[in-house]
């Protein structure tokens, strides 16, 4: 099997922002248990910025590491900026992912988008 970067392993063993949020402003869940990965993102929004973010992930090392990394990347950002974060950027921030694991980074991007969409829907700001 192809090796993970040190950064992937570091995020896998010490994931940032793991947990749930009782008073989340938006929740997004992406992935499919059939394929072996599900990611749930919770966001707290204040002044159009992601004030806090938490995640829970069922999946492989890459799924956990990309979840952790994306939460760090979007925390404190405006919603517009957060929506611009791509899966490539997440993978790059982790010093790359093995080719077979690239699809895991799609989940990270999709998870953030789903949580923001949920927030906008709840607040009548759906575009």
């Amino acid at each position: 099997m192809e090796e993970y970067s040190e950064k992937v392993m570091e995020h896998f063993f010490n994931p940032r922002n793991v947990g749930e949020m009782d008073d989340a402003d938006g929740v997004g869940e992406v992935g499919n248990p059939r394929c072996g990965d599900i990611m749930r993102m919770y966001i707290k929004v204040k002044d159009n910025k992601i004030e806090d973010i938490k995640f829970k992930t069922f999946g492989c090392g890459a799924a956990v590491a990309t979840s952790s990394m994306v939460t760090e990347m979007v925390k404190g950002k405006t919603l517009e900026k957060a929506l611009k974060i791509t899966n490539m950027a997440v993978a790059k921030a982790l010093d790359g992912l093995p080719p077979l694991k690239m699809h895991c980074s799609n989940l990270a991007e999709a998870g953030v988008k789903a949580a923001i969409q949920d927030y906008r829907k709840k607040n009548g700001k759906e575009e």
Binding site: E20, P33, C35, G36, R40, K56, G61
Partner: protein, 388 residues
Amino acid sequence: MDKTIYLDNAATTKIDKEVIKAMLPYLTDQYGNPSSIYSLARESKKAIESSREEVAKAINAKPNEIYFTSGGTESDNWAIKGIAFANENKGKHIITTNIEHHAVLHTCKYLKKYGFEVTYLPVKENGIVDINELRKAIREDTILISVMFANNEIGSIQPIKEIGKIAKEKGIYFHTDAVQAVGKIPIDVNELNIDLLSLSGHKLHGPKSIGALYIKNGVKISNMLHGGGQERKMRAGTENVPSIVGLGKAIEIATENINEKNEKIIELRDILINGLLEKIPDTILNGDREKRLPGNVNVCFKYIEGESILLMLDMKGVCASSGSACTSGSLEPSHVLLALGLEHEIAHGSLRLTLSKYNTQKDVKYLLEILPEIVQKLRDMSPLINQN
């Protein structure tokens, strides 16, 4: 933890020191080609024939029924394609199971291109073939039944004796992929009515890339490799003398006092199985509790994913394997676990631990200490469990 705890003996095994000792002369001074006539070559020839005797003895076959190959995969390919192509005038139907190794499944799939039809027998929840399903599947044009002796993932031991009996009654050739079983449980090809049997060296503390196919005298089979006259003109190519010697030694050691040695491995296995089921809630044991290889443990931990478990175990020095999609390089979990009727998300959380003679009580105890924590850590992260 500076020591490696190796619990992946179904993948491969550590080579026995005695095996290396036996091989060494053939990697150094005894390099003669067994097909040549001078005395240096005769030594190589003698070594091969004595290894052939050891392999034959291990499964109660005759030495002239043993053909050396490059391993389990080649043996399976040869047995299935060789029987198919040599007997297609009699019929083009093959029966196998849906839990076979890919060496068998993909070979059968390949044969479909040549007009062969394949029936894949389902297994029961315990991973064992239903003999009634086999009886129902047999047709006039069935030429081969191929059922593995014991499964590589879940360790379930198949009803080989019954299958052999049925195959013999119906006049159908019976092949068994015994890669996981030889050297682990006693096998007698005559008593079991086996016509063809695949075995591999590196699963029984021998070298890699060496195996054998047992072909009962009188079985009609085609060659797969064409060239020189080695292996009684059945399998061309200069013999891998050192590895053949290694296989002979390894199989001799493995089958010596097999029941006695198994007692110790079974004891460790049962401590592990009982400990995991007791200490970790929502754990499922895969495969049959009794009809199981001595060294096989396979469980599913609900709500978590297998690769994550393996990474955490690796961090603690433990080598193991999983049937999750992420460890197979596809999006599907193991076909064997799905054949048991497990849900996809449960199959993704599988862990296989396979023991050998080198494992100790200490290894098992250590695992039972660290695994509950690992499972808990991953479950704390899992969205499949609702908080509180």
